[in-house]
């Protein structure tokens, strides 16, 4: 037993546990804020009102058309530039230039755009008949959305959204490539890199980090699959999510 615990790989897994929490922290903050932003953007993009649809379209295009890596650099440097003039006088500079704040913020803005595109695609494939039925029974706009559009949109978008969340988790690695590491707040790749620089044992440290990513990705798929089962429970077919790498940044 002792020899297993002292195996270098197990030691690495123990060392990398705390860094993994930082990656999870970015994900856990980005998803709940990114989801409503994405739904609003998708509804905006789908809207007939040009004042809503053009800004939403532009936003989604800009954030999907540029690398997340650049977005991190850009928002971090904008925040740094605003620091002396705006954040310092307001007394919030400890928050506004902290990677633990800017990181999730940029991830929210980014996943908002990617997920909006997914939801927008789903909105367009919501069965016409159900919307017509909702109108036929005299539902209000809100009731129509609540009962016909929203559940269908969510169900249609869920597999792609699951992939988006997994790749959002993967892109949390970029946070500390673009922002300074404060105190010992290192994420998986930082720590793996630090271990690598000590003994140059590339395969050991990187595969331990990769294992964390793999396992957490699988857990995300498992959890989202449970939700998907619930979303499709009326369909009476055995459905399960398939991992498809269509969305990444």
């Amino acid at each position: 037993m002792d020899s297993i615990l002292n195996a270098p790989f197990v030691q690495d897994l123990v060392t990398l546990f705390k860094p993994a929490l930082f990656n999870l922290y970015f994900l856990v903050l980005a998803v709940p804020f990114g989801f409503p932003l994405a739904v609003l953007l998708a509804l905006g993009k789908n809207s007939k009102n040009k004042l809503l649809s053009i800004p939403a379209r532009t936003y989604v295009y800009a954030f999907r058309g540029s690398p997340l890596f650049i977005q991190f650099f850009m928002f971090y440097s904008i925040s740094l530039a605003l620091n002396p003039g705006v954040w310092k006088p307001l007394g919030i500079s400890w928050l506004m230039i902290h990677p633990l704040f800017i990181g999730p913020l940029v991830l929210v803005l980014n996943t908002g755009a990617y997920a909006a595109e997914i939801f927008y695609g789903a909105l367009q494939t919501v069965p016409k008949g159900e919307i017509e039925a909702a109108r036929a029974v005299g539902m209000s706009k809100w009731q129509e959305f609540r009962t016909a559009v929203w559940p269908n949109m969510l169900r249609l978008a869920w597999p792609a959204y699951t992939n988006e969340v997994v790749f959002l988790f993967h892109s949390t690695t970029l946070v500390y490539f673009t922002m300074p590491v404060i105190n010992e707040q290192k994420d998986l790749l930082n720590k793996a890199g630090e271990l690598f620089e000590k003994d140059y044992n590339l395969f050991l440290h990187f595969s331990a980090a990769a294992l964390y990513f793999l396992v957490i990705s699988i857990i995300i798929f498992f959890l989202f699959n449970l939700v998907y089962k619930r979303l499709t429970r009326h369909l009476n077919v055995d459905v399960s999510l398939k991992i498809k790498p269509n969305y990444i940044r």
Partner: protein, 279 residues
């Protein structure tokens, strides 16, 4: 150089405009513009290698030989669970270490090998990589990572080729190898193009990560040029201008994406000539 500009332009710009123009065309800025070549080369060669690895991966996934199928499946599943950044860092380092290991077997003395603790195993076995070598390694890592994405796309496209076409080819007496290469692969591109276009856009955005591999690309230049300068000897005195440079890169990548989309729409229209379309 700027003296060659026509008078109406210099008059229109005025002294301030000319000073700005002189600033953004100074040597450092010209080096920045020139470093776009790394991005484009990595994207171009990375894409070619990605299609190559994608074809290999798809062929492996379709193979009749089970272990080859497993290799294909592991290759394409790998990228779904592990971030691309990890691979981009891992492949060049692994290759470098592999080469240094082989060099150590040749150049190191046996007693050095026996007592070696760190890496490289002895000073003779140190491989210093220049930008060119890092570029080659970066192209290969991009090709390997996005080849897995392309493999999925090509695999789907190969299966989308109508069976009748292949049966007809068989009926004409073409051997299986020819049926695969001359009919299935030849007809696959139309089905693969939309997916490959997505993979290209991903790869294009991943080229922003070149600076992680010690390459002085547009991102590292933007960081250097925008850094605050308080010494008049070093040029224009300015505060932290990094956000301006990153904003330029932000727009640059959006433009590249836009151009790529236009190009792929053209290719799609061209490749789809004579195909039945639903709308």
């Amino acid at each position: 150089m700027l003296e060659m500009l026509p008078h109406w332009l210099t008059d229109w710009l005025g002294p301030d405009g000319m000073a700005s123009l002189a600033y953004i065309t100074n040597g450092k800025h010209l080096s920045w513009y020139a470093s776009v070549r790394y991005t484009l080369i990595a994207a171009g060669f990375g894409a070619i290698l990605a299609v190559f690895f994608g074809l290999l991966g798809a062929a492996a996934k379709l193979s009749k030989f089970a272990p080859l199928r497993w290799i294909g499946d592991i290759y394409t599943t790998m990228v779904r669970g592990i971030p691309d950044v990890l691979f981009l860092l891992f492949f060049p380092l692994a290759f470098e270490q592999g080469v240094e290991y082989v060099m150590a077997q040749w150049y190191c003395k046996p007693e050095e090998l026996a007592t070696a603790t760190g890496w490289p195993l002895c000073s003779n076995a140190q491989w210093y990589l220049s930008t060119t070598e890092y570029m080659v390694l970066a192209c290969f890592s991009l090709g390997i990572v996005y080849g897995a994405f392309a493999a999925n796309v090509i695999y789907g496209a190969l299966k989308a080729v109508p069976k009748g076409q292949l049966e007809a080819a068989h009926a004409f007496g073409f051997p299986s190898r020819d049926v695969f290469w001359r009919f299935q692969v030849r007809q696959m591109w139309v089905y693969a193009l939309p997916g490959l276009s997505n993979v290209w856009l991903l790869l294009l955005k991943a080229t922003s990560l070149l600076s992680l591999l010690q390459i002085t690309d547009i991102v590292s230049w933007a960081d250097r040029l925008g850094a605050p300068n308080y010494s008049p000897l070093a040029g224009l005195v300015h505060g932290d201008w990094r956000w301006k440079y990153y904003l330029v890169l932000f727009v640059f990548y959006i433009l590249l994406t836009w151009l790529s989309e236009k190009f792929f729409a053209y290719l799609q229209a061209r490749a789809g000539r004579g195909m039945a379309r639903a709308n």
